[in-house]
């Protein structure tokens, strides 16, 4: 729905390294013990780690780049090969924290000034503090399964989107407005379920899903919402005081054909092998959060579908997408942070109950039929879910 590129392709939390040692989220569960803070100073020649030993549990490496080149800091397993956790792209003069929960054992620390070579290494021992550090042997497999399933889900949704768009475009082009209006919301559901993925293709999203208000002066408007406005033609009063001028048949066909071509493009890109390689646990977790953000900023306010008022279809679709993303990672979360999993389960249920109460026929009531209290209640449920959901990524990648 927006024209801005997302940071979907955030520099990956490199090789997802869910080894024996790294796990659990950001904060110590009991809150009683302060994190063990260890400072690291990285220069061209040295990697000065303030301690060579720490008790097991929550560890923070406070990494400062005191050199002139971009540096990285790694905590490696005893074999010196497997990465337990890392921070990368630390510019000169900049300090960044590496936070993890470490199990007892022997490790290796490494600074990599200039990001090349073996790095400057030293041994590091984690002693047994008795802190509960959950075993996590199956996690890597679980994450692999989650990414495979999520990629399959995205592909499936683009397939359904393509089929639905063909029907919609046909109705629009042949002037069957009634059928087009019927198809509009149910077809868009497949788009909204994978919206962050579509947005990660920076050129497709503005062509397909831009709202009129998102346009720059002189920029051509295309895509779903242009056709939405033509199908639900506004009065002059809702059109900035100007009489709405319907699209000509030729314009309609042209815009509809372009929408279909762009949808085919989206389909092709998500079915390319390169797409699957981009999807990791962080991408899935951040995608779930982004979907809830979309609900919180666009759908709950009725801004997304200002002509058709079918915002609740989009709302449900965003929640569907977030739920699928979470479900894929749920086993990982249960293993690492059962409280978070329980919280998320409850919040998803609460929100779904509220949405179900607004069902009508195969779909939903219009946004304009909601009372203020109902909107407020939905907004509160979205916030209640959005907050724990924002911890999903950290929970699965740390």
């Amino acid at each position: 729905m927006t024209s801005r590129p997302r940071l979907a392709a955030l520099p990956a939390v490199a090789a997802l390294t869910l080894g024996v040692a790294a796990c659990t989220p950001n904060e110590p569960a009991d809150g009683s013990t302060d994190a063990q803070s260890i400072t690291v100073s990285s220069t061209a020649e040295t990697c000065d780690v303030s301690a060579a030993e720490a008790p097991s549990g929550h560890l923070v490496f406070n990494v400062t780049n005191d050199g002139d080149e971009v540096t990285e800091f790694y905590l490696l397993a005893e074999d010196g090969l497997r990465i337990i956790s890392e921070v990368e792209n630390v510019g000169p003069g900049i300090t960044r924290d590496l936070v993890l929960t470490a199990a007892p054992g022997e490790y290796i620390t490494a600074c990599k000034p200039g990001m090349v070579g073996e790095g400057i290494r030293a041994g590091f021992t984690v002693t047994d503090s008795g802190a509960d550090v959950a075993p996590t042997g199956e996690l890597a497999d679980q994450v692999d399964a989650a990414t495979v399933n999520y990629v399959a889900y995205v592909k499936d949704q683009t397939e359904q989107l393509l089929t639905g768009t063909e029907e919609f475009v046909d109705a629009v082009s042949t002037g069957d407005d009634e059928a087009a209006r019927e198809l509009y919301a149910p077809v868009r559901v497949h788009w909204e379920r994978i919206e962050p993925v579509a947005e990660s293709f920076g050129d497709l999203d503005p062509r397909m899903d831009l709202r009129e208000a998102d346009l720059e002066e002189g920029q051509e408007w295309t895509g779903w919402h242009l056709l939405e406005k033509d199908l639900w033609a506004p009065d002059a009063g809702d059109n900035g005081g100007v009489e709405y001028e319907p699209l000509t048949d030729a314009e309609r066909t042209a815009y509809a054909d372009q929408l279909l071509a762009d949808t085919q493009d989206l389909y092709d890109r998500t079915h390319d092998a390169a797409f699957a390689e981009q999807i990791d646990a962080a991408a899935i977790g951040n995608g779930a959060k982004s979907l809830l953000d979309e609900v919180a900023t666009g759908k709950i306010t009725g801004e997304e579908e200002i002509w058709s008022h079918t915002d609740l279809w989009d709302f449900q679709a965003n929640v569907d997408g977030a739920q699928v993303a979470y479900d894929g990672l749920r086993d990982v979360v249960v293993g690492k942070d059962p409280d978070l999993a329980e919280d998320l389960d409850t919040r998803f249920d609460t929100l779904q109950d509220l949405l179900d109460a607004q069902r009508e026929g195969d779909g939903f009531v219009l946004y304009t039929d909601l009372t203020e209290d109902e909107v407020r209640e939905l907004a509160a449920a979205v916030d209640a879910l959005g907050e724990p959901l924002s911890h999903l990524t950290a929970s699965v990648v740390l």
């Binding site: 940071l7 955030l10 792209n89 510019g91 000169p92 003069g93 900049i94 300090t95 953000d293 916030d383």
Partner: protein, 442 residues
Amino acid sequence: MAADPETDAPPEQPRGLSRRALLGGFAGALGVGAVGFAGGRLTADTSVAAASATSDAYAFTGVHQAGIVTPAQDRLHFATFDVTTDSREDLVTLLREWTHAAARMTQGLDAGELGATSGPYDAPPDDTGEAIGLPASGLTITFGFGPSLFHDADGVDRFGLGDHRPTLLEELPHFPADMLEDARCGGDIAIQACANDPQVAVHAIRNLSRIAFGTASVRWSQLGYGRTSTTSTSQATPRNLFGFKDGTANVKAEETDAVDEFIWVDDDGSTPAWLAGGSYMIARRIRMTIETWDRAPLREQEAIVGRTKAEGAPLSGGDEFTEPDFTATGRDDVPLIDPSSHVALAHPDANDGARMLRRGYNYTDGSDGLGRLDAGLFFLAYVKDPSTQYVPMQNRLSRNDTMMEYLRHTGSGLWAVPPGVPDGSATGGTEGAFIGQGLFEA
């Protein structure tokens, strides 16, 4: 930690003379000369108007209006007015009265000469009184004229000023994703009141609004706090509501060449002479979707801004004032500073070297009906030429800035800020000098 603005604020101790003290002991001696009270302290050049050690008042008079390169105070009350009369004479009278009251209030005096607690017992006092006992608090009052003062929405030239409209003074274009609310846009005249005490800033706008009744009415207004920019190198860079330092690369008052190059309108015939020594003021009310921002990982927040949250250092390295290196790359040759980050797009390097003097404030107008903060940045900026120093940059930001995901622009306006009332001018009465005099006598 956030910088403590107090430590870098202009010297305020000992506090300036309070209104009560002035009224009681010195009013007679100062008399109408109140305008000259601090006038001698300031020379008529672009040097920084710093409050002196014995007063926290800034001079109202000068080549330029105060409140632009003046070290940014901590509080804002901004208001725009629609002129409700068609009488040019009434408008001039209002500007005379406003000028006189503004000159007085910036010196810590009551708006009117009788004061808040004197005058006929059967008449309302000519000052509203809530600033009694408060010092001048660094109050500055800055006036600007909007495009609609020259031609209203129907193109009517109500005051015979149309021929003198600077060509650069026109409504800002629609920027991508603008969600402007009519009730927070435009206005024939804008007044920016800044002070270090919110009650003093509000007192100023309240009394000016009162004087205007019948001639001009408030169109919209905005309170701001926690200045989000520094306009002087003596101030530490404050933080906006995203928790990041803001405006590090701002034009500072001490950069006198930059101020001349980027802020003050030249007297070279390219614009009407009445505006020489003035500037253009841009206001944008930018709501932040605080709740979703707070759920964004630190990694994403820093990537969006392009700076570290802790120090404000560019992600290419160094400290806050190190120039960002947009060519620096990290792993896999990915730029350390994302090309769609805020710093990359807003930096002068991306804008043909254009800079501006930002003077924005945080705002929080309670919550919306959905329990979310109605909060963000009230962006105020001064430029010599909005068509080159602001519009292209805002288009670029609105289109590409990854931060836009968390922003929505809800209010907007552009005003031409006339030069100051010259030092030594008498204000008040039917002959007094007034803001914008050059326009009306052009």
